[in-house]
Symmetry: C2
Subunit: 451 residues, 2 copies
């Protein structure tokens, strides 16, 4: 532990040192800022780094600790925030010219909860424009010529490059778990509505999830625990008890896993299919039961619905501004809005019904195993920065709103990360975290880009 630089520490490790006053939050923030300064020119993960604000917050955290007032495991931990979350007093532009220079007067609820938990807002991370598919400037820390994925591009790259131990992202199709897979880190999203999206620039109200990018399963659980819970300000917030994600990590039982081929193997490349089979074999070797989970024949609908819903809802949100400032919209989000405006309402209405039907149909399948296993992405991060890759692995699960976790599981021959996706049953993030934690230990894979 002593040989690690502060920026290399996990949330868990840093937190224990901070609590024992063996690490000052100020030194931790300073270490992260130095790391950013060393690498940012190459990685371009940040839209804004709030050096002054973060150091000031760190001083306050330090003072509190000295007064034996410890807020919990995020006390003094610097966090990156995707630039679609409102941050009071900090520019929030969502990668869009239409929001150039916009400084919100309040925090998104998730940001507010992080601050209450003692976390330090290190800055805003790069996002594709309005969390759609138009790439940010960010590069993949594993190979600067490859995409980091998106839309939570900066959050994923920053965490992978150890610029901060954890960051907030969002997921409407595959925007948290896909970049997590491309960057060799953990990505997690809870049940739809588990984390408030109040103060997050919406892409699609009924699909938007707050996501977490971290380097360990435990760090993701710590962060989700801090921000989960009902928020009356979010119309889609889940008014239900929050499971104890951290307690679930203490239960270490060999999981029953359902390996899903079908749709997922059809959309994955040969390398990813082979890798997923190998990971399943390694998990079996470690004691897990891994059996085949067979999808219903119309499963593909769950993916198609995602597009229909996103188009209609993005169009509804952007319609007025789009009519005036169309030129400021980049090609993918523009096309999405135009498709949405042109789309017949009946297609959207039927998609809403079909989404409920898919969720009802897939629930028994999900409850049959502790978690389902799919490839983490269609392949390793694609070369080039023009595309953020394919969200096919995440789409169906985002559509039906169940919790998912991306886990890094190895490198390909070109030295790029590969990973799996674990899928949990409705409202059962605790069970899913327990499985992910078990798999993480069983596989023993932690990836660090050669920077």
């Amino acid at each position: 532990m002593a040989f690690k630089e502060p920026y290399e520490l996990s949330v868990k490790e840093a937190s224990e040192l901070i609590r024992k006053q063996e690490l000052s939050p100020v030194d931790l923030v300073r270490s992260c800022i130095e790391r950013i300064e060393a690498l940012e020119e190459r990685i371009k993960a940040w839209a804004l780094v709030d050096r002054e604000g973060a150091l000031q917050a760190a001083s306050l955290c330090e003072a509190e600790i000295k007064e034996r007032s410890w807020r919990g495991p995020l006390h003094g931990i610097p966090i990156g925030i995707k630039d679609i979350f409102y941050t009071a007093g900090l520019r929030t532009e969502a990668g869009s010219g239409t929001l150039a220079g916009f400084v919100p007067s309040c925090d998104a609820s998730a940001v507010e909860r992080l601050k209450e938990a003692g976390a330090i807002i290190l800055g805003k991370t790069q996002t594709t424009q309005f969390a759609c598919l138009d790439p940010a400037a960010t590069r993949n820390p594993w190979n600067l010529d490859h995409t980091p994925g998106g839309s939570s591009s900066g959050s994923a790259a920053a965490v992978a490059a150890c610029m901060c131990p954890v960051a907030l992202g969002s997921q409407t199709a595959g925007s948290t778990l896909r970049p997590a897979a491309y960057n060799g880190i953990v990505g997690a999203k809870g049940e739809h509505g588990r984390v408030s999206t109040y103060g997050v620039v919406p892409l699609s109200w009924r699909l938007d999830h707050v996501g977490i990018l971290a380097r360990t399963v435990e760090d993701a659980a710590i962060t989700l625990q801090a921000i989960a819970g009902y928020d009356p300000k979010d119309l889609h917030s889940l008014n239900a008890p929050v499971p104890d994600f951290l307690a679930s990590l203490k239960v270490s039982k060999s999981p029953r896993l359902g390996l899903v081929r079908g749709y997922f193997f059809d959309h994955a490349d040969e390398e990813m299919r082979r890798h997923t089979e190998e990971v399943a074999e390694r998990l079996r070797g470690a004691g897990a039961s891994v059996t085949e989970a067979v999808l219903p024949p119309d499963f593909v609908n769950a993916s198609d619905i995602n597009g229909v819903s996103m188009k209609a809802e993005a169009a509804a949100y952007h319609e007025d501004v789009f009519a005036e400032k169309k030129d400021l919209y980049r090609s993918n989000i523009r096309q999405l809005i135009e498709d949405g405006l042109a789309g017949p309402v009946t297609t959207y209405v039927r998609a809403l019904e079909e989404r409920l039907a898919q969720r009802a149909k897939l629930t028994p399948l999900l409850l049959n195993w502790d978690a389902l296993v799919t490839p983490g992405a269609t392949g390793a991060a694609p070369e080039g920065l023009e595309s953020t890759g394919n969200p096919a692995m995440q789409r169906p699960w985002t559509t039906i709103g169940v919790p998912t976790i991306a886990l890094p599981t190895g490198l390909n021959r070109k030295g790029l990360p590969l990973g799996i996706q674990l899928v949990g049953g409705p409202f059962a993030e605790d069970r899913l975290f327990a499985v992910a934690w078990w798999c993480e230990k069983a596989l023993g894979v932690h990836l660090n880009p050669p920077l």
Copy 2:
């Protein structure tokens, strides 16, 4: 009691006699059939009366009773079913030529639950075409030249005319409580999703409620209790515990009522406004606290959203058949579908969001009183059979999905029924039933049309 004809009995009264074997279900059914035969030519409440099936079911009920097997308070009670509910082996046409001669092979879930509770399906009641605004042939038992309201026209008229003690209806705008008000009977709907709509021909999935028409509050509670509860076959079914509506009737406490003028008085005629004030005065006199409840200024949205949602969802359901058989659609439902097909998707998406916002905004208001009080309809049943009247009193509450009960409170100078509407908080049907029961007793009004 002994002087009443069986058809005049309430569910509660008939049920006690049946249980004690002082009334045979066969005699009860026969009495209702005779009543129908005497009046149906004038009232036209029925699409189909299943004489043979009902008498057969009544014999079975009688046999069960003789074996001391009593299923509960609906055992042996004949019930009318609006002709949009699937009934196994019984023609179900929803007032539409497109369904002419259609005989379902299964029951709607609500019908199935009624049968399990021992109820007897007496027949199918007239509905406006597809539960929209095109009138059925039904006439108001209080004055044959006046509309009975709709869309649950036959159910309301049949119950008012004592052809059956209780009937199922549905409500998407004002289709249960408005005809209840026009016919001088009790109308009730629970929280959205409380009663399964599986097997009910949809008008608008996100607005459709199963409704109950009865002659007393207790009868409505008995019926709702039998059919309420989660149904995995209905995608919009509420997966939540069902309150004990009947137990709530035993709690007799003077209620705190919120009289709502604003939007409701703006849409009611002078007579109805005056009557509502008088009823409030009578309730105050009986010991209730009645204070003014002030609506938020954008309350009218909750009504507008109803139309936007209904159009889009009706269009989505009918689109394919409509393209082929447009001529079989009557003018109002045709216009609704055409508006829906033409409407921009973004208006619908925003209406869905606004509906959630309105519910969130109105919940604190609803929780401030035991129930809100509004006029039961914009006025007494209008003259003429071309229109089914104005659903303005019900629309906002149907939109936000909270429970409501219509209570008859008197007659106007022309001898037509007037009534009030009581509105309960989210999921709180038990509290609402307790209030309605108290008001029913306090007012002492039971109306019988001069037939």
